[in-house]
Symmetry: C5
Subunit: 92 residues, 5 copies
């Protein structure tokens, strides 16, 4: 799973019906200090009640559909956990 930070929300009126009611958030990958790294923002569906500013775990691809509970949902990124603590060996 990617370590990301939630930085915003996105609204889309014209969309695939299967996206109706999904909470879509803008996220960005971070390092273990919470700093932005190379790579662009993307949009993930939230299933754990994450808010802007929180650090989260993201799954991508077909795994996101599994997390959302339906193999036919047209979503390829999902927030599956809110990070409490990252304990990292900084000597690496």
């Amino acid at each position: 799973m990617m370590i990301c930070k939630v930085i915003g929300n996105v609204w889309a009126t014209k969309k695939d019906d299967a996206l109706e009611g999904k909470k879509l958030m803008v996220v960005i990958q971070t390092d273990t200090y919470g700093e932005k790294v190379q790579g662009e923002c993307f949009v993930a569906a939230d299933i754990v009640g994450a808010g802007v500013g929180e650090r989260v775990l993201i799954v991508n691809g077909s795994t996101a559909r599994k997390a959302l509970g339906g193999d036919d949902i047209p979503i390829d990124a999902a927030i599956v956990g809110i990070i409490d603590t990252l304990e990292v060996d900084r000597t690496h």
Copy 2:
């Protein structure tokens, strides 16, 4: 999902029969300001009536096939929403 901008159309006469009738658009990933970022243009099938210049949400891989409603369709990117608003915390 990736945040992209629609920048054009593509035509292909010789193609897999399963692509017949699909609306294929050229898209490029953007940041949350709508600016082009590193990475190349690619082609996505549109299912929401997007037009050139609009900002859209794109799903990739097997999820694109799900969005298109058929697991055997030879398409690996699909436009699943037209972005109305991106509300992003610019302090990150």
Copy 3:
């Protein structure tokens, strides 16, 4: 789908039996002008009769297997269309 150019052929005598008879071509991703971009050549199976020098649409991953008509074929990239025209808004 990626926008690529066909630049060659590859031969492999010792290979998975399921690759027997497949036409494998060397391709490289290009921009919308047909110029080579960052990234390496790779090999894709052709199902539309593409030739060296042509611009093509490529699908990757599990979608390539779908394009080849069999979920067990050990191929993860396929040429699914030959590009006639790319009409791109150059102001982006």
Copy 4:
């Protein structure tokens, strides 16, 4: 599989129920000398009893779910082996 090094642990109280009881570790890709390379840390589920500092083999995507023994588990990276020896031809 990616060659990675385990560098830490991650805790998340609010998470998808299916993640309950999974051992989640922070890993980073390395070269064959064990040195950190370009690319960010990510989180993988451990199924072989790996510890911080060990070099491991990681599978990604749908393969991680297979490694975890259930196609519906919302995890897209798994540690499937602890590397004893890497024997590499350094002349390449």
Copy 5:
């Protein structure tokens, strides 16, 4: 498929049972001249009898599992062919 070169072997005593007996080789992506390119070494299972120094075709992701003949095998890269000849138009 990626064009890679086999550069070594890897041994792991503690590993997922399903990896038992698989021949795991260290590979690196190359250009069409056989030169190393940007990107790191990774590990692929060999099903065609490849040796160190040979140029090979690699499939990734779920396609590697298909190549290995079992959808539940925790391997996400497989060597599916040994390259005899690459015939590339160098004018691109």
